[in-house]
């Protein structure tokens, strides 16, 4: 066993200092596409999920395929940074960029409501995850948070098996109808205050899987979502950001408050 003690010391500290310090991997992250200006009418084949409207682009539908960025660089670009203002939203409409002005108030109201609910959770948060029809990649990225690089324990965030002990519900997947019952039961088993995070574009809107016999096209049809995190899949930094926004450790907008 002593061999593992020595191995544990091999690389020194590999844990990110974020959010106390910026992290270059998080800052260089290629997030969902954004519209540089209102796009008007474009070829519908430009987006496989129909995220583009004359208004702009709905990042909640963006699966990061990059087709619009490649074919119309005059209109679209990647958003940069996994932890910035574009990382997660408190209202579904706020994922539409350029942001329609009327959502500012809605987001502010949602933020105030969330803050009031989660005031007690700031320093110790227990998280439960439910897969409602994911492709499996979101689970990898959530698991990464438990690894040495992200190590969410240092931020007072812990995973729990029992919904009775959970404050936050991370939901992945396009909302498989077979999981609607188990997902609802898990949510109902959580004590108040509780926060639901839709992790990934599939969970936000269904992504490529539209509403069908098999999926509800996003998890909001089954549980009320508080924080919307696009990405296909989102990076571990994105998930971390959404968690910290959910419990009020970070203001939505990416400015560290610690």
């Amino acid at each position: 066993m002593s061999i593992w003690v020595l191995r544990g010391l091999r690389d020194g500290v590999v844990t990110t200092r974020w959010p106390a310090r910026p992290d270059s991997y998080a800052d260089g992250w290629r997030g969902p596409a954004r519209a540089l200006r209102p796009v008007g009418s474009v070829d519908p084949a430009l987006c496989p999920t129909g995220a583009i409207s004359p208004q702009g682009i709905d990042q909640g539908r963006c699966i990061l395929c990059g087709r619009c960025v490649t074919e119309r660089p005059d209109l679209f670009a990647w958003s940069r940074g996994a932890t910035g203002p574009a990382a997660a939203a408190l209202a579904r409409d706020a994922l539409v960029v350029p942001e329609p002005p009327e959502t500012d108030e809605a987001v502010a109201a949602a933020r105030a409501r969330l803050r009031a609910r989660t005031a007690a959770l700031r320093r110790s948060v227990h998280v439960r995850h439910v897969d409602a029809g994911s492709d499996g990649s979101e689970e990898w990225e959530i698991q990464a948070l438990l690894g040495p690089v992200y190590d969410i324990g240092r931020l007072g965030v812990f995973f729990t098996a029992s919904p009775r002990h959970a404050d936050v519900l991370l939901v992945t997947g396009a909302g498989a109808r077979g999981m609607a019952g188990p997902l609802r039961t898990t949510y109902d088993g959580m004590p108040d205050p509780r926060v639901v995070i839709a992790v990934g574009t599939d969970a936000v809107s269904g992504g490529l899987l539209r509403e069908s016999e098999a999926v509800t096209g996003g998890v909001a049809a089954t549980v009320p979502v508080d924080v919307w995190l696009p990405g296909s899949p989102p990076s571990p930094f994105g998930i971390l950001t959404a968690l910290l926004i959910a419990v009020g450790q970070l203001a939505s907008g990416g400015k560290g408050t610690r």
Partner: protein, 475 residues
């Protein structure tokens, strides 16, 4: 190559005799062209490619003679056909819903074993830890596991049906999300089918980039298995070490293409772009990773308390592996190696030297882990070769136009879990039908059979050692 048989019985006769002669049963699916009869398509893996044998059912037939009594490997395939089309395979041993959840009143716990003190532990679909949704029904008198039942329908997403009507460029994005942890392999299998239909040969540089990503995906998946095994054994440092290596591999992938899962790289006709890092740097980074991983893997394989948990755990006999045509590391560990990269090469694997799998026969969790470490080592070797070759092809194009109009073909690729198979039909430039078959689907059914002599605490080891993804099962 597609061959049509006059009727279902003739199809099964032909199929069974070819399996007996050494071909591998690689899949069975149904399709129903509008207004037409249901057509059953069986796939056979041969030394040079995938053969498809077909037979239509008589019009408005409500049943057909089941294949499963003659060829056990068809067990789950026929249940899927029943789920999707409502046609009954006569003589099928157990026709419960597999991928489509029936009404909740059908969800009562099935009981197969009875006896003093035998009870069922329902484990899932919401499981402890961060896991995909699946329900295991463990029938046990307390410690031994005489029977295990699996319900995978909870996270059925209707992926196979969703393909119809998509353009190939959109459909490859869906293929990447059929089984997210094997995105590259699924995209490859899909693109190989589409490229065959279009008669398009991707440029050599694209073939090498495809190999780079496929092998990095293999390494990440095998490291994930190592993380889960070390975690199950309570080796905290080993868990953290392999998680660190996996993160570094994913970061290398994202440095190459922007996605941590290699998504958006493989497109019909080649790759979307050449890697963002120069080949020499890829080689150097991979070399560093190889050293770090092999040192920790060596330490893990020298930790006797860990090996004791794997040795003899979840054994699959070589006879069963061959009979079922077990794929990937599960098959290799039991002496049945049918690696598509070697036997039915594609892309860069034509020119690179893929070393043959080492001989194993134990078939237990330990042998599966040994196979994975060998594959990781081979993968680094292939990455080095591919990066070297890529450096000489700096001027190559990344992709060629690939516009399939009409036709049908099978495409395959060796995912970390084993062979992925796509049966794609294109009409008027759009996908008319696409039937993906992941290695996870083919292999997961074998979990029923590997609990001989094992007890409840072996469960996490056996599950992790299979290294499958539920997403790929319940498409």
């Amino acid at each position: 190559m597609t061959m049509t048989q006059p009727g279902v019985t003739a199809l099964w006769d032909e199929l069974c005799s070819r399996v007996k002669a050494g071909d591998r049963f690689a899949g069975l699916s149904g399709s129903q062209p509008e207004g037409g009869p249901l057509v059953l398509s069986a796939h056979l893996a041969t030394a040079g490619g995938i053969d498809t044998l077909e037979a239509p059912l008589p019009p408005s037939a409500a049943s057909y003679p089941a294949l499963t009594p003659r060829l056990g490997a068809a067990f789950w395939y026929e249940r899927v056909i029943h789920d999707r089309f409502g046609v009954v395979p006569d003589g099928h041993p157990r026709l419960a819903p597999l991928i489509r959840p029936g009404p909740p009143e059908d969800h009562a716990l099935p009981r197969h074993v009875t006896g003093y003190g035998v009870f069922t532990i329902p484990h899932g679909p919401v499981r402890s830890g961060v896991m995909e949704s699946i329900e295991y029904l463990v029938e046990t008198p307390g410690e031994a596991i005489p029977h295990l039942n699996m319900r995978v329908f909870y996270k059925h997403r209707g992926v196979a049906d969703r393909f119809a009507g998509m353009t190939p460029a959109d459909a490859v994005l869906l293929a990447e999300r059929a089984e997210g942890i094997a995105s590259v392999a699924h995209a490859l299998a899909f693109c190989h089918a589409v490229e065959q239909i279009a008669g398009c040969q991707p440029p050599p540089a694209a073939g090498l980039v495809r190999v780079l990503h496929a092998e990095l995906e293999r390494i990440a998946n095998h490291l994930d298995v190592a993380v889960r095994l070390a975690d199950a054994a309570g080796l905290a440092v080993a868990t953290a070490r392999f998680a660190l290596h996996k993160e570094r591999v994913q970061r290398l992938v994202s440095a190459l293409c922007g996605s941590r899962f290699g998504r958006g790289v493989v497109v019909p006709g080649g790759v979307a772009a050449l890697p963002l890092l120069p080949p020499a740097q890829i080689r150097a980074e991979a070399g560093k990773l190889r050293q770090a991983i092999s040192a920790d893997a060596g330490a893990l394989m020298g930790t006797s308390s860990f090996l004791d948990r794997l040795r003899g755990t979840g054994p699959l006999t070589p006879a069963r592996a061959r009979q079922h045509g077990a794929l990937g590391p599960v098959g290799k560990a039991a002496g049945y190696a049918d690696d598509a990269r070697l036997v039915r090469p594609y892309d860069g694997y034509w020119s690179l030297a893929v070393p043959p799998a080492a001989a194993h026969s134990a078939g237990d969790a330990l042998a599966r882990l040994r196979v994975r470490w060998e594959e990781v080592d081979q993968a680094f070797g292939l990455i080095r070769q591919a990066a070297e070759d890529l450096a000489e092809r700096a001027g190559d194009r990344a992709r060629l136009p690939c516009e399939p109009v009409r036709g049908r073909a099978a495409g395959w690729a060796e995912a970390p879990q084993g062979e992925v198979l796509y049966d794609v039909e294109v009409a008027d430039g759009r996908i008319a039908r696409c039937q993906p078959r992941s290695a996870s689907f083919h292999n997961l059914v074998l979990m029923h059979e590997v609990f001989t002599g094992d007890i409840l605490t072996d469960f996490p080891f056996i599950e992790a050692s299979f290294g499958l993804s539920v997403a790929g099962v319940s498409l």
